[in-house]
Amino acid sequence: MTKVLVTGMGIVSALGIGVEINLAHLKAEKSGIDSYKLFKPFIPYDLPIGEIPHSNKQLGELLGLKSSKDFSRTSLLGLLAAREAYVESSNPKLKTGLVSSTTVGGMDQSEIFYQDFLPDNEAGSLRTILMHDCGESSEQIARNLGIKGLVTTINTACSSAANAAIFGARLLKAGKLDRVLIGGVDAITNFTMGGFNALGILNAEYCKPFDKNRNGLNLGEGSAFLMLETEAAAKENNSEVFCELSGYGNANDAYHQTASSPEGSGAALAMQRAIEVAQISPADVEYINAHGTGTGNNDLTEGLAIKTVFGENIPKFSSTKGYTGHCLAASGSLEAVFSILSMNQNFWLPNLNFKEPIEEHGLIPIQKLIEAEGPKTILSNSFGFGGNCTSLIFKK
């Protein structure tokens, strides 16, 4: 069975547009979370977010679009990251697909529509509501890049992009596709801000993943894509190989729609399955990029799950949510890009804002950036509503 190789990366986050600027800010330990400047809230929140400091018009200009009006913010962010990650193929016979993901699709446009439509059902621009569904941004990307082999979209909440990677890898291994662009995108919307705020898990300060006094998450927006190719396709295209996607696991916690089980059983199972698929032992994992949202529930149960899987030999780990905020569907692919950068650019990612460990598990993440030979085997976690738990393993 073929290996699945990562041959392209693209990213848009609160740290900036493109891999280079994201790398520079990661290494400078500079967070992109700040008070919002562009987001237009229905409810005046006094909350920091990981916002991309470009208006839709500016994003459209960066993409060379005549007008950004027919695009949701989700599509614009997705297009930027997808274009950067996409590797052209020299052989038209190679079958290329797209597996994208988003949790709320073009909700930013639906919100504009609903403000007019709710008081008067004959009002509201239909152009905006046509962008509502989750498939819209994926089709914009596929059309823009000329991808025809397979086009689909996953929504399993905050594990979405990691699951897009799993489905993409399985399609390559089964020979259904030779190449697949995978990733996720979500823009800041009133819907998600209002939802997480109503859940009482948004932090008025900077999030503090894995800290004893953590007090909720910061929402972020962004997009990241990875180009995955079979060994044969990568060879034929003379592609630059960043690493291998060697393992993956998805498990359902089967406990609660929004909360993790007390011991994080689904999270532990996802990690164990990924380790099994990669045919390695837990001791081979050198670094964990944790989901680590900064909520009481996640960081406690994820830590306990890590202990279940790794016992006393906990690998170095960190959550990078303090840099970008929680980018929902995109978090899995964003953090995959960060992890691969750390592997290839020889540094270890710090967990910003950590001070004291959580009493129940006592785990201490990497606190300051380490400049040394990067981790060669990385496990990346993404967990979502609906009990959806996913782990990916990247190998040098």
Binding site: F42, Y45, N250, A251, N252
Partner: protein
């Protein structure tokens, strides 16, 4: 590597009475003006009242359909749970949006937000079955169900024995208003023949929830076998799907004339109707043909209702009169059924089934 995907159990909640698989469309429910809404069961028959109380309508439809399928499956362990939905939980989404737009403060209840996540049905099924297995939700327009089905088929190829795969979409008042406004913008083409449907040229909006147990092995209960499935993304061009269908059949060792029944997604939607008619006339003029959207209405996951219907047709060797569009002769036996669906001329799909 399994290339046999057996439909071993099904559960379907639709505008028709599709609740008992022993009966097959014996009594037909007709559209109310612009919609075909689900014939709703007594949900308490299969859903725990404690959970039922907190569920919105589409969750009830979905969990009931999944429960029907699971009940028919018996003590079979599912190696994966795959769901597809075009628009997810629209009612909850609209209620939550309305709350945050109208309230102007942060004291809104998170309930409808929590239950608006597209994968929440998959999560409920996992909790119902206490299943830690692989659990994915696909949300891509006219490919939502097909993508879940592809994942299900991949699982069987990878060595799994049984998987649960299904799809759901609901209609809401707001949705109907938006869709009718969109449709009225489309100029009606006078040349569009009414050869197949004598209804006026407009789509009837619909909804359904359908689940299937796909197994690697045939059982006593097997309805039919899925031979292959294909999604064709048209990339915004208007090129014909004809060569794709020919290639698809050839790859499966079949010719056009081997297809005993084409189950076509044609309806009155002026956007797609002409392309359907062109295809019917150029590629399939001699094939027996039946429709399904006059029974379930147009929605992004209507093909899941079509799969339920095709499996019933093969199993019962019976084609309901109301769905017949074009019949040349009465076939002695229905062996091969092809479902063809065209969503907005962009997402076109083919599902090939075989009698077992």
């Amino acid at each position: 590597m399994s290339k046999n995907y057996f439909i071993n159990a099904m559960g379907c909640v639709s505008p028709q009475n599709s609740l008992d698989n022993n009966n097959f469309l014996t009594e037909i429910k007709e559209a109310q003006i612009d919609r075909l809404a689900c014939f709703e069961p007594n949900y308490r028959d299969l859903i725990n009242p404690r959970i039922l109380r907190r569920m919105d309508r589409v969750s009830r439809m979905t969990i009931f359909a999944a429960s029907l399928c699971l009940q028919e499956s018996g003590e079979v362990e599912m190696d994966a749970i795959l769901t597809g939905t075009g628009l997810g939980f629209m009612f909850n989404t609209t209620v939550f949006l309305k709350n945050i737009i109208e309230s102007g403060d942060s004291l809104v209840s998170p309930t409808t937000f929590i239950q608006s996540t597209h994968n929440s049905a998959g999560g409920i099924i996992a909790r119902m079955l206490n299943s830690n297995k692989y659990n994915f939700t696909y949300v891509h327009r006219g490919f939502s169900f097909e993508s879940a089905l592809l994942d299900a088929m991949l699982h069987l190829e990878e060595g799994c024995q049984n998987v649960l795969v299904g799809a759901f979409d609901e209609i809401t008042e707001e949705y109907i208003k938006v869709m009718n406004r969109l449709q009225s913008l489309k100029r009606l083409d006078k040349d569009q023949s009414t050869q197949f449907l004598d209804a006026s040229i407009r789509a009837i909006w619909g909804e359904s929830a359908a689940f299937f147990t796909l197994g690697a092995n045939q059982t006593e209960k097997t309805y039919a076998k899925i031979k292959e499935m294909k999604m064709v993304f048209s990339n915004g061009t208007n090129e014909s799907i004809k060569p794709e269908i020919e290639l698809f059949l050839e790859e499966n060792g079949l010719k056009i004339e081997d297809i005993d029944l084409v189950l076509s997604g044609i309806d009155g939607n002026p956007m797609t109707r002409k392309n359907y008619l062109d295809l019917h006339e150029s590629l399939l003029p001699n094939n027996d043909m039946a429709s399904f959207k006059n029974l379930c209405g147009e929605h992004k996951t209507a093909s899941s209702f079509a799969l339920w219907m095709a499996a019933q047709i093969l199993h019962k060797q019976f084609i309901p009169e109301v769905s017949k569009l074009n019949f040349k002769e009465t076939k002695a036996k229905i062996n091969n059924v092809l479902i063809y669906n065209n969503y907005n001329n962009i997402n076109q799909s083919l599902i090939l089934l075989e009698h077992v």
